[in-house]
């Protein structure tokens, strides 16, 4: 298949589609907003609540601590009261952070500790946000081999929940961890790597913050490099038919199937070549425009079909959107439209069938949703609770706008993931409990909990959500 043929920049496509739909004159079409409905209120002078990015999780911790050194972190943990949780950027959609007892921010544990030029390794404090990590590594001539498509999370949170990007040759963020320092709930400082405290190392990469707080991470990097990303409009079925070839031909490949449409946005990213130039712009509000088109016609009889035709009609141009530059700038994208997300990783070979069933379900049940899916591949690893443990994975994400109740939509889709033996992303919305999760990790579930129980025998790090996913 050719994703470049009949392609068009996303900005132009969406602008054309909005105009073609005569959005402004159709009844029932109001301006889309993504204001969320706050779960809590706040008045100046009151204790600050904690709220996650997606505004679907909140808590009112009695104690908030922000240690600025490992020594302070040790003291804070030794003296902490009640349920203790750590927070970085707060980008998880699942309830991994909330506690009304002690909340420890890793914001001040940020920065580059040192680097090894020969090994291409760098040691970074775990509170470092990914958007700071790229420039920090570049300053010593290094770069992560791969990075997520948004760079808001803190490194520690990314490691705790196996945050990933796309590319059949690349593992999750955890796979680039050569070593880490873990401060246990008792305040013990453990150096962990393949050679030292190996079992803790296997558990601490993807621990959901259940072992302690990671204070620093040594990353296995590569020399700094440039990438070029090309985003084009294609046909979902063409992309799926050629998915193996697309993945083999491109360093990174992912695509975003449009719901109620035959089309998708395909994104291929490769090492930059001389002469590559940025063309078009990455429009962070594009999904809002898509939403306006969808809202304009969904109330009509056959509205879903009309939406498909409008999107189809709008896609007649030639241009693609191209972004080129340092890897950390190209891999990351701006996300200013708030949403809630569920993601499962199914075995790589099951990806096409799974996403086809999701698209068919949305269409046949005429679900009132238009936020594109996201479809990515991640290489297998041997990390005990990683979604990619023991098998190459295809990660499929469904999203709902932040001002809409996501539960009815996700409830329709989640059983499809179960049918394909999907493992849920630890930091995203899902409904599985410990019994069902343990069946998805038959090799190392018990190993992980032996380490967890040894480091946190009193369960001080277990909030309600962690009890649900680990103990229930």
């Amino acid at each position: 298949m050719t994703v470049s043929r009949n392609s068009l920049s996303r900005r132009r496509f969406l602008g054309t589609a909005a105009a073609g739909a005569a959005v402004s004159i159709l009844p029932g079409c109001g301006p889309a907003t993504t204001d969320t409905h706050p779960l809590v209120s706040f008045k100046p002078g009151e204790p600050l609540p904690w709220i996650n990015w997606a505004a679907n999780q909140t808590c009112n911790p009695a104690i908030r601590a922000a240690p600025a050194s490992e020594a302070e972190l040790v003291e804070v943990l030794r003296n902490a009261r009640g349920v203790v949780r750590a927070v970085g950027a707060g980008h998880s959609f699942s309830a991994v952070v909330p506690t009304d007892d002690t909340l420890i921010s890793t914001d001040l544990l940020a920065g580059l500790v040192g680097h090894d030029a020969e090994k291409n390794q760098a040691t970074v404090l775990a509170g470092t946000r990914l958007h700071d990590l790229g420039p920090l590594l570049a300053s010593v001539g290094q770069a992560l081999p791969n990075m997520p498509d948004m760079d808001y999370p803190a490194l520690g949170g990314a490691i705790a929940s196996s945050v990933h990007a796309t590319g059949t040759g690349f593992g999750s963020m955890c796979s680039y961890v050569a070593g880490l320092t873990l401060v246990s709930p008792a305040g013990d400082v453990l150096e962990c790597s393949a050679d030292q405290n190996r079992e803790v190392f296997q558990a601490a990469r993807t621990s959901v913050g259940a072992l302690g707080i990671v204070s620093r991470v040594t990353l296995q990097n590569q020399p700094a490099f440039d990438l070029t990303e090309v985003a084009t409009i294609g046909r979902t079925e063409d992309v799926l038919d050629a998915i193996d070839e697309l993945c083999a031909r491109n360093r990174h490949f992912e695509f975003f199937p449009l719901l109620h449409s035959k089309l998708c946005i395909a994104v291929a990213t490769n090492p930059a070549q001389p002469g590559d130039t940025t063309m078009g712009t990455d429009d962070p509000q594009a999904v809002n425009t898509l939403r306006r088109v969808f809202d304009a016609v969904k109330w009509l009889p056959g509205g879903s079909g009309m939406y498909d035709k409008l999107v189809e009609l709008a896609l007649g141009g030639e241009a693609a959107t191209t972004r080129t530059g340092p890897s950390y700038q190209v891999l990351a994208h701006v996300r200013v439209v708030r949403f809630r997300e569920m993601e499962y990783t199914v075995p790589a070979a099951a990806g096409p069938a799974c996403v086809r069933e999701i698209l068919r379900t949305v269409r046949e049940k005429n679900l009132p949703v238009c936020f594109p899916l996201e479809y990515r591949y991640v290489k297998s690893d041997d990390i005990w609770l990683s979604m990619f443990e023991g098998r190459d994975g295809c990660s499929i994400s469904v999203h709902q706008f932040g001002d809409v109740d996501f539960r009815p939509y996700f409830a329709e889709i989640e059983p499809i993931f179960w049918k394909y033996e999907g493992r849920p992303h630890w930091g995203k919305v899902h409904t599985l409990d410990a019994k069902r999760l343990s069946a998805l990790y038959p090799r190392h579930w018990r190993d992980f909990h032996e380490v967890r129980e040894a480091l946190d025998p009193q369960g001080r790090l277990l909030n309600a959500h962690l009890k649900h996913v680990f103990l229930s």
């Binding site: 204001d35 969320t36 609540p49 708030r338």
Partner: protein
């Protein structure tokens, strides 16, 4: 940053309203300004720096 004309309409709501919006988040602006370590006073200082709101408006 700190350019009052750009912030005239927002600043007319007053510092307390800006603070509440900062804590709860608004549209694309994340709750607490993405800062989990910040206190209320930290956020007030950040709001002043970004909005240029006059101290007297507090």
């Amino acid at each position: 940053m700190g350019n009052p004309p750009d912030w005239k309409v927002r600043n007319e709501q007053g510092m307390d309203r800006l603070l509440v919006n900062t804590v709860l988040g608004l549209r694309g602006m994340p709750p607490l300004g993405y800062c989990s370590a910040c206190s209320e006073q930290d956020l007030r200082e950040l709001i002043k720096a970004v909005s240029g709101i006059a101290v007297a408006a507090e």
